[in-house]
Amino acid sequence: MPANRLRTLAAAALAPLLAVAAGCANAAGPAGEAAGQPRSGGSLTWAVETEPITLNPHQYAQAKARLLVWNTFESLLTYDKQGKLVPWLATGWQTAPDGLSYTLTLRDGVTFSDGTPLDAAAVRANIDKLREPGYAPAVAAVQLRNLKAVEVVDPRTVRLTLTTPDVLILDFLASPQGAQVSPKSLRAAKNLKAGGVDVAGTGPFVLDRYVPGQELHYRRNPGYDWAPPTATHTGPAYLDEITYRFLKESAVRVGALTSSQVQLVEGVPATDQPLVTGNASLRLSRELNSGSAYSYYFNSSHAPFDDLRVRQAFREAVDVDTVLRSVYRDTATRAWSVISPSSPLYDKSLEGGYGGDAGEANTLLDQAGWTARDADGFRVKDGRRLTVRLVQSAPFVRDRRDVLAQAVQAAVKQSAGIDLKVSLVDQGTANEAFARNEYEVFDNSRADTDAGAALNLLLHSKGGINRARVNDPRIDQLLQTGQATGDPAKRAGIYAELQQRVVAEQALVLPLYAPADQIAASTSVGGVRFEPTAGVPASAYDLWIGK
């Protein structure tokens, strides 16, 4: 897309200018918590990259919108730093020995911002709504696939029964889609699926103004007193108000921050990070996201990637560290597995096990019969060039993944004579290529809190995003056992075996980097943190303004 290239050029041309505009750079010392002791009051403006498509948590589909969801809505459970589930609006849960039912007890005294109390009937109303035809088809078909019934045991107790053991139901209860919306809003909101000021939740803030294309404005919920154990304080939020302004251009976001027009920004690409780190009154923090790593999935359903040796060769042909450094300088974290290194299911033993050996790549391709070379230096077999196609859908390209693809393209050409054809297209064209099986490489990362949920979609033979066209009974079986196993240690063992199978033995993926989020903030802002496990910016609940 020319607009993209244009933007890159413009950004490159402007970097020095912006550096001057940002004012004199100071040698930054360790900032610490410069904002001092937490205190109540004040308002902040936060520039965010993405305007959410919907404000209804049940319809949530953008990881970039997660920090907004938790201002107004809350779930029954949440994750702590270690990736363990902890209670939130629920006080606890019990798993039946057969794994076929979960009984949750609810916290007392929780009310939605419209005055409706949160009770078992409200929880049931939410799940009933999610299963209503046409309301949230993706949630009903994936997350609630194994849910049989929801039963109100008493006003404070609710029981979910399943058709088959499924530990991911707990992940659903901790997800934005499982957040509790006031039953009154579910019945009466004008545009329920779009969300908005008339959809009430239990969160520490209340959305009171939405100007599409410009900003969201929240005010404190004064009666709030049910913070999750992962928060750093209890009671109402510190801030009186917070405004999230949509600034899609990273250069503009950072400029607004350096000129103190906003106090926080998220999404700071590598090229803009020196402007923040070089400024003593600003602080940059970053955290790895949960879920699946950003990887290239090899379409194993047809040539040339139906041959294990070619898949291995492609992986050996890329020196991932060098490629990442050339595109992201030193800001990217290399991924070694299909699962993000921040996940408790991550198998560390894969690290260093493969990749970057051009000699090996060439040997493998020779063995696979791709021995001849054409005039352009690409390998050829039976008169056909070793061409593989990567189709990227422009609306979903982020983190300069189009530029990264060009770097990989150059690497595989140079070291092994593989012709990686990259096309950046509109969503319709991409979908058509996927439907017609006219692609060999598929790129994806998912920010699910439980990596198992992501892998179900990506690697199961019947998975919703199985674009690698994996059809391996062993992998299916491991995924199903993993989903049915509650014991964390056993579960980690199953997923370790799965990762060995997918990454080491079958070479179905080339993991590239672990997606991360960045927050740049004025040092006068305290309590800047990321949501535990998810690794995305947290809600505004713990933020305060120092003196």
Partner: protein, 309 residues
């Protein structure tokens, strides 16, 4: 009676343009790769159950012709449908974004025309060759610079460095200045060239000599006599200005974080959100019709010769 018939013909032609535009957009989206269900699913999970629900919800199993006729019937009744992506009525989506874009467009077009007039009048003829060279060089630069770059430059100097203007949003007149200037500069650049060219040619005409010989001063000659002639080709560029402004808002609103139709267009086209795209196309076509009609009326105003015929 004749005037009435002319007006009726004008309105009829306008409606025809709207219908053709809506139909062309509909066909283009139909011919575009990928189907609607895929586009609604986006990069999320895609299973037969999910597809079936989406198809049922939006009535996508009906033949394309039926969907098209249904769309036209609803359009005539003023119902623009619901956005696939945003799950809200299209009239809401567009309605709330129309005013900020209109404000930006009017300010940018007005400023652009004003700048062009001042520049052209100041540099026409051979009075100040150095100024003329400087200005036509600058105009060329402005016309060829992407507004994305102009916007970022203005922002980094006037907002980030000197903090004269807020960076973003629709926060009163102050926030309108930079976006309007960004959009106005390329318009001013091209219009100034056209106007100056017109002025130059008018100055060579015998009537200018006559006016001068009557003792009319140079400024009077330019403003009262030559400018009218120079305006005609400029007025015919009104449609072009409208196009530049609407296209420019897409980028300018993105850079400045302003609400407006530009952002709606961008996400709707990227996601093939058919109902919104169709509404925006129809609305833009209506805008063109209005602007071109106004331009035709302006000819009559500028040139008395046309009024007689």
């Amino acid at each position: 009676m004749r005037a009435l018939r002319a007006v009726a013909r004008r309105i009829g032609a306008g409606l025809l343009v709207l219908w053709v535009a809506a139909t062309a957009a509909y066909l283009a989206l139909l011919a575009a790769p990928g189907d609607t269900v895929d586009n609604i699913i986006g990069d999320g999970a895609d299973t037969p159950d999910i597809r079936a629900e989406i198809i049922a919800q939006w009535g996508l199993d009906r033949p394309a012709v039926v969907q098209y006729v249904d769309y036209l019937v609803r359009l005539v009744n003023g119902d623009l449908g619901r956005s696939y992506l945003l799950q809200r009525p299209v009239s809401d989506v567009i309605g709330e974004q129309l005013l900020p874009t209109l404000a930006l467009a009017v300010a940018a077009a007005g400023l652009g025309v004003l700048l062009a007039l001042v520049i052209a009048v100041a540099t026409a003829g051979n009075r100040r060759p150095w100024l003329r060279r400087l200005s036509s060089g600058t105009e060329l630069l402005l016309v060829s610079t992407p507004s994305f770059l102009i916007g970022l430059l203005l922002l980094s100097v006037l907002s980030f460095r000197f903090r004269f203007f807020p960076v973003s949003g629709d926060q009163g007149a102050g926030a309108l200045v930079l976006p309007a200037v960004t959009l106005a500069l390329p318009i001013a650049g091209l219009l100034a060239q056209v106007l100056r060219d017109g002025l130059d040619r008018a100055i060579d005409q015998p009537f200018v000599l006559t006016a001068r010989s009557r003792g009319v001063r140079e400024r009077g000659v330019l403003l009262r006599h030559a400018l009218r002639h120079a305006l005609l080709p400029a007025v015919s560029l009104a449609g072009w200005v409208f196009g530049i402004v609407i296209g420019g808002t897409v980028i300018v609103e993105q850079v400045f974080g302003r609400p407006g139709l530009g952002q709606v267009i961008l996400s709707a086209v990227a996601n093939q959100d058919m109902p919104v795209v169709l509404a925006v196309v129809t609305l833009s076509a209506a805008g063109y019709v209005v602007v071109n009609t106004a331009a035709d009326l302006a000819y009559l105003l500028v040139d008395p010769r046309l009024r007689r015929s």
